[in-house]
Symmetry: C2
Subunit: 384 residues, 2 copies
């Protein structure tokens, strides 16, 4: 096992009716800015639950945060924080709203140009406003980690940052609020955590049976419950287990002490920056092709993945790897997620653009060995 | 899955050579009291590593904390904290030293009679001195939770308490410091976490595949690596995986959202209070007998345990349960831990004493259903 630091101070309040406990979690003297997205939080009644739980407090609201949240939108919220002397942020939404809130929390306490936060990957952040979250769309685990991704559409860039100052103070996870999500978002909320787990698991072995066993548990749970969640939208236990799986997929736990490979995410981000394809769908395109392309360096873990996640035990090594990749592709397709690049209208010139963007953004040494270059990404994308 | 809160702000610094990073973790203006046990921290050089990492600071030291740490000893440290205006505690040791440090941290900030902290199970604690730990003996997970157990030998009582104010700020986990541990303590450090996992797993199903899968991973790792750790004392990866398993066995994660049954611990504590038997050994005595006695209420999970932890899949339900209990007993015995009460010189009058003590300490409704009475404990102990 590799050396590691693990630190995650976010308090999770999980279960039915937990939004009612919101008042106890926010300092009584706080001036609160409630942030949300495009209107679903209003339509589904989650915002009404939040307002009721915080009745009697002065709340200021800021809606309209986009999926793949925009730098320019976040800056408007930063201005509002200053103007209204806000002391606490409350994100009500999914990963996009929470990611934007992290950026707003950091930028509100940053003296320089807020763009520095992204170009430095967060290293310039020394402080942030405290914030909590009410999660409405489980997928990204942003509710229990300190990372975020912000899109700058003018620059055609989608860039990640992270800081130990950007953990939510608390996150409310009520599985019932996910009953009304459209199938498309449920499917994304299964595929995205699945790839998060893979990026921390499918590298090379370092004798870490706990991290491997936890990762395999999360993947098996997603494979079992993903299709069932689409078939039975109001089954509490299915939604509860998916919600908790998505959080644990990227809260630092399974990645502690093991190598990681975030190349599917980095390549996928550039697809989203190109044409706004859903984040999870870009992963479903890149991952199977990348698994096939990297079957050499990832051989031992691909065989372990075949056996322990898919129960594939017959055939030669390459046959078992082929079967595991096919099962992965089928899993995405059965969730209604297409896995070929041309399903998303990306042609040869689109690939040129993506490869160029990887170079522009310094993504020239991806993978657990730092040896996946933009040219390798081109080959992976062409095969996809 | 049941509703739950999960909160664990302890920062873990894991791996080779991490004690050298100690200086960065303690506030520069802190006045530090270093707490340790009976001399092994000195003998093995861990205290020397701590002193070197904190060179130039004023350190005050307090040694002599017992296994099953004593109330009276802890109170002496509380006096020293006041006398020397200590602002930060550093526990260097195993569960006993860390448990004592938690109590000292809480008692140093408590105005009333410190005994209240134990009789209230910690509910009177509203504040505590900050503290960190350097773990030398992995077993109890005290390095990453907020609970502790203190023995009052005058009163013949061993009582637990817990408080959200009693999480370590950080814990240093260097597997290399465990190389010199005697076999007896390594064996205890496998058995104790194993039973911790069982107490959060072997109840009744609540549709929690993640918690179950994580628990099964931890148990399989202990079963695989426990005997190997005794055979190969300087294998880094074995020690590293055991150390991290012990921490994850009781840091709140696998118990979140599932029923728990701490009856083996509560009955075991009274055996230790009677004759100072090692904590882990009392568990190895009580657990197999309790599993057999409670095979009715625990039936479904016992069958899951047989299949997923021991790969026992043939035979009738009762035969598979019998085989799993026998495997559990054999696992303890192979670690060199006896599993019969008379191995520890407890006779009929000893059982009378234990049953009486359970009544005196209000342990009258144990188990996940609250229906294991002192009379049930008598039957379990007689069968043990």
């Amino acid at each position: 096992m590799n050396n590691f630091d693990f630190y995650n101070p976010t308090k999770i309040l999980f279960g039915k009716g937990r939004i009612a406990d919101l008042n106890d979690q926010i300092p009584t003297d706080a001036k609160v800015l409630v942030l949300y997205g495009g209107g679903s939080a209003e339509r589904t009644g989650v915002l009404a639950q939040v307002r009721e739980a915080l009745a009697g407090r002065t709340l200021i609201e800021f809606g309209g945060i986009e999926p793949n949240p925009r730098f320019a939108t976040a800056l408007k919220a930063v201005d509002l924080v200053a103007e209204k002397s806000i002391t606490f942020l409350l994100a009500v939404g999914g990963g996009s709203v929470i990611d934007a809130t992290k950026f707003i929390a950091a930028a509100s306490k940053y003296d320089g140009d807020a763009w520095d936060i992204l170009t430095s990957r967060g290293s310039v952040v020394t402080n942030a406003l405290p914030f909590g979250t009410v999660l409405t769309l489980p997928a990204t685990a942003s509710e229990m980690n300190s990372g975020a991704v912000i899109t700058n559409s003018e620059k055609g860039a989608k860039l990640p940052f992270g800081s130990p100052h950007c953990f939510p103070a608390f996150s409310m996870l009520d599985p019932e609020v996910t009953y009304t999500l459209p199938d498309r978002q449920i499917a994304n909320g299964v595929a995205d955590p699945f790839v998060h787990v893979i990026e921390q698991y499918l590298t090379y072995p370092v004798n870490a049976p706990i991290q491997d066993g936890f990762a395999e548990t999360l993947m098996r749970t997603l494979i079992d419950l993903g299709p069932k969640a689409l078939a039975s939208p109001k089954d509490y236990d299915i939604r509860a287990n998916l919600m908790w799986t998505a959080t644990l997929a990227l809260n630092g736990l399974i990645g502690a002490g093991v190598p990681q490979d975030w190349s599917s995410h980095m390549i996928g981000h550039e697809i989203t920056a190109l044409n706004d394809t859903d984040h999870a769908r870009t992963l479903a395109v890149v991952l199977p092709s990348l698994m096939n392309d990297q079957r050499g360096p990832k051989r031992v873990k691909l065989l372990q993945y075949a056996a322990n996640v898919w129960d594939i035990r017959d055939g030669s090594d390459d046959e078992r790897i082929d079967a595991a990749i096919a099962a992965t592709r089928r899993f995405f397709e059965e969730l209604g997620i297409k896995t070929r690049l041309n399903d998303y209208d990306v042609d040869a010139s689109g690939i040129d653009h993506i490869v160029g963007a990887l170079k522009d953004h310094g993504m020239t040494a991806l993978g657990e060995h730092g040896d996946i270059t933009p040219d390798d990404a081109r080959r992976i994308l062409e095969a996809a």
